[in-house]
């Protein structure tokens, strides 16, 4: 009983420590791209803010929605869009980093199920100081450039 209590205290303490350690990092406007049925890959985008005084970095990510989750960026080279894994994504102290279509993204490889618009996926980011942060990313289509409300349902909310 004593050891169980001990474990509980330890677990609670760890959780509190994690929360405070990654507390300076805020995730804004996360979303996972909705994909056509049967499409095995997708990506998650968000803006991450660092309210702390030290630079931080995302070093890995995971999600129950996909077999493999990687940190990626795009480079334009030889007229081709090349997607490449990056070891870390820096979030500067007092600044923010945007993960957005055509740039940095959390890549979901080998989806376990279709990403259906209106649902959400859980994503965990791991940081260079050993802490982590889990959030829910709503699934939606790519934002339109055209602002008018057309016949398409994905025009709303922009």
């Amino acid at each position: 009983m004593k050891s169980l209590l001990h474990s509980l205290i330890l677990a609670t303490g760890l959780t509190a420590m994690q929360a405070s350690a990654s507390g300076g990092l805020e995730i804004d406007d996360p979303f996972a791209r909705a994909v056509p049925p049967g499409t095995p890959n997708s990506a998650v985008f968000f803006t991450i803010e660092n309210e702390g005084t030290q630079d931080r970095a995302i070093v890995s990510a995971s999600s129950p929605a996909a077999k493999v989750v990687e940190l990626h960026t795009h480079i334009m080279e030889d007229g081709m869009a090349k997607m490449r894994e990056v070891p870390r994504i820096l979030v500067p102290a007092g600044g923010e980093t945007k993960l957005k279509p055509g740039g940095l993204h959390v890549m979901l490889l080998g989806l376990h199920h279709d990403l259906v618009e209106g649902e959400a996926v859980s994503v965990t980011l791991n940081f260079d100081d050993g802490t982590g942060k889990t959030f829910s990313a709503p699934i939606r289509r790519v934002k339109r450039m055209m602002k008018h409300a057309g016949k398409h349902h994905d025009a709303k909310g922009h």
Binding site: R33, V35, G79, H105, R141, M145, G150
Partner: protein, 226 residues
């Protein structure tokens, strides 16, 4: 290897003789180069000028497309003659593409809407050519493109046929090494290609794609063409 160039005697050549030798080697290299060069490469050497029209690169003169045969997502043959009598936007990609292809197809869906609003859609077609035939079946391709727009078509076929069409258009793609057989990625051109009613490559639209710019460019190109 040529015994002349591989012996120490080479160093005793007079400047005039070695100059002649270099000239001969250069000529051989040139001839050899032409022998291995494909038509697309030669065309690119002869490709007149590129004019920028609302962000689009317009080829002057437009580039002819050699014969190719693919199959489209309705199960029908898609060949160089399918490009005729219409304006066709083509994007070379693959359905496992996590970012670039969904982005492009979303933007071209907006182009489709703009053209529809301008009643300028009738003779404009949108084609997604998969450069990943091992994984992209026609059924998968059909489901994929119609997710973005029900008028969009897709096509794929034998790798050499895809390459004929892509290469003549200046589209490039290469599989990223080091991934397993089931979930590899492909680097590919992020540009979209526009073919005119004579079936020639008329303009190239580099990414990122702005639907308003593309629609304006198409109108300008058409007004010069017709």
């Amino acid at each position: 290897m040529d015994p002349v160039t591989s012996t120490p005697a080479e160093s005793t050549f007079s400047p005039a003789r070695s100059g002649l030798l270099i000239g001969l080697i250069a000529l051989l290299a040139l001839v050899g180069g032409y022998m291995v060069a494909d038509q697309g490469f030669l065309d690119s050497l002869n490709a007149g000028t590129i004019r920028s029209v609302h962000g689009a690169s317009v080829l002057e003169p437009p580039r002819p497309i050699p014969a190719f045969t693919l199959t489209d997502s309705r199960g029908e043959a898609y060949t160089q003659t399918s490009l005729r009598d219409r304006w066709t936007f083509v994007f070379f990609g693959y359905t496992y593409c996590p970012d670039v292809c969904p982005m492009a197809l979303t933007r071209f869906n907006e182009v489709h809407e703009l053209l529809s609003a301008q009643q300028a859609l009738d003779d404009v077609h949108f084609m997604f050519v998969s450069v990943d035939p091992p994984r992209d079946s026609l059924e998968r391709l059909g489901n994929y493109v119609t997710f973005f727009n029900r008028d969009f078509l897709a096509a794929t076929g034998d790798p050499d046929q895809i390459e004929t069409f892509a290469r003549a258009s200046g589209a490039v793609y290469v599989r990223v090494p080091g991934r397993d057989e089931s979930n590899y990625l492909i680097d590919h051109s992020a540009a979209a290609f526009l073919y005119d009613p004579d079936g020639r490559l008329h303009a190239v639209f580099n990414a990122p794609h702005d639907p308003f710019q593309i629609t304006r460019a198409l109108a300008a190109i058409r007004s010069q063409q017709l």
